[in-house]
Amino acid sequence: MKAVSVEEAVAMIPAGASVMVGGFMGVGTPERLLDEVVRQNKTDLRLISNDAATPGKGVGKLFDKTLVSKLTATHIGLNPKAQQQMLANQIAVDLVPQGTFVERIRAGGCGLGGVLTPTGVGTLVAEGKRQIEVDGRPFLLETALRAQFALVHAFLADYLGNLAYALTSRNFNPVMAMAADTVIVTAEHIVPVGVIAPDHVVTPAPLVDYLITNG
């Protein structure tokens, strides 16, 4: 793990990169990193995020500046700008059931080729996918999902990069921290090693590549 400034961290992300961003309706999203992505005008991003948040909040900021060219998400209904950009074909949107979304990312982080899920069988979601029967029950083969970068927000980080999360701001963050080539983290508090007890570490330090320094 290396401690870097938010400017240095975002400078590593090229235009057109695939980026996973933690958070659920902007809760548990690394806002400082997104502000800097906007400031450095990183365009053509292939965003993987549960939702499109709302304008001005969380990943919603990326849609305010039309920085996204492809979106993989579960729900974008609360961001009219993302909806407009989808309906105008400015963004290619892949809508995925939320349980499938998180399992695909988990599979990507855990070295699996994908997962078999009953969700989506017999619906539009099944189109173009392999259906596999196990013990007489139909499942869809949903492939693993990874990204070049994961932008993660934690409640506590220690100087080694161990992370702990707060309440509902945990959501997709620990799963995405497993599934990207480069993991960049912001934290509410950076604390000395040992403050987060081993049993309370959710994301172990070796998964974190860059921790954004506070201040």
Binding site: F24, T74, G77, L78, P97, G99, T123, L124, T168, P174
Partner: protein, 216 residues
């Protein structure tokens, strides 16, 4: 009584002590207000919480304690938080006893459509497909008709949420179940006749000899 309150109060009667329950956005959210306090029901919010409590008093909201719509909520003593993989493991894995969702259409066999209107509204399915596929019992809470048009249809014209039929539909006019895969009128709302229900129901509805009125 307000039609939404009729629905919420009737659905609340379906919950039992010890149940793990997921409530969707809209009318389903109201159900929590009508659960008797002696009933110990665990409410799950799929963004990672079991033990959701009421909306916090002014000034007591915390930015890391929210519902699936991103709005502030509270957590009751004994609440637990977890990541989204566990949250949907609970849902898809059959650990959620009851899910209550809104609906756009339910058909004569209990199939639900509630996530998109092609060309008009494509918000995404969020957690709805997993909830309908995985919860032990699926209850739809919705108005019986929209702009005079029945939402209980012969066959869904909108894309389905799941191939699995729902267990119960509670509307402002009726309770409908699906014994042997066939829409059946189980109860009528207070002051509503069987004829009035039929007039606003497009699907063929089986009518048992005795159709009691909801007891709210």
């Amino acid at each position: 009584m307000d039609p939404q309150i009729v629905i919420a109060r009737r659905v609340a009667q379906e919950l039992k002590s010890g149940n793990l329950v997921n409530l969707g956005i809209g009318i389903p959210t109201l159900v929590a207000n009508y659960v008797p306090s002696e009933l110990k029901v665990f409410f799950q919010s799929e963004n990672g919480l079991i033990g959701t409590g009421p909306i916090p008093e002014q000034g007591m909201a915390h930015p890391t304690l929210t519902d699936a719509g991103g709005r502030p909520i509270s957590a009751l003593p004994g609440a637990s938080t977890f990541d989204s993989a566990i949250s949907f493991g609970l849902i898809r894995g059959g650990h959620v006893d009851v899910t209550v969702l809104g609906g756009l259409q339910v058909d004569a066999h209990g199939h639900l459509a509630n996530w998109m209107i092609p060309g008009k509204m494509v918000p995404g399915m969020g957690g709805a497909m997993d909830l309908v596929s995985g919860a032990k019992r699926v209850i739809v809470a919705m108005q019986h008709a929209a702009k005079g048009k029945s939402k209980i249809v012969a066959k869904c014209s909108l894309p389905l949420t799941s191939a699995r039929p729902v267990n119960l539909v509670v509307t402002d006019l009726a309770v409908i179940g699906f014994p042997e895969g066939k829409a059946t009128l189980l109860e009528t709302a207070p002051g509503v006749s069987v004829g009035e229900v039929l007039a606003l129901t497009e699907a063929e509805l089986a009518i048992p000899d005795n159709v009691p009125e909801m007891r709210l």
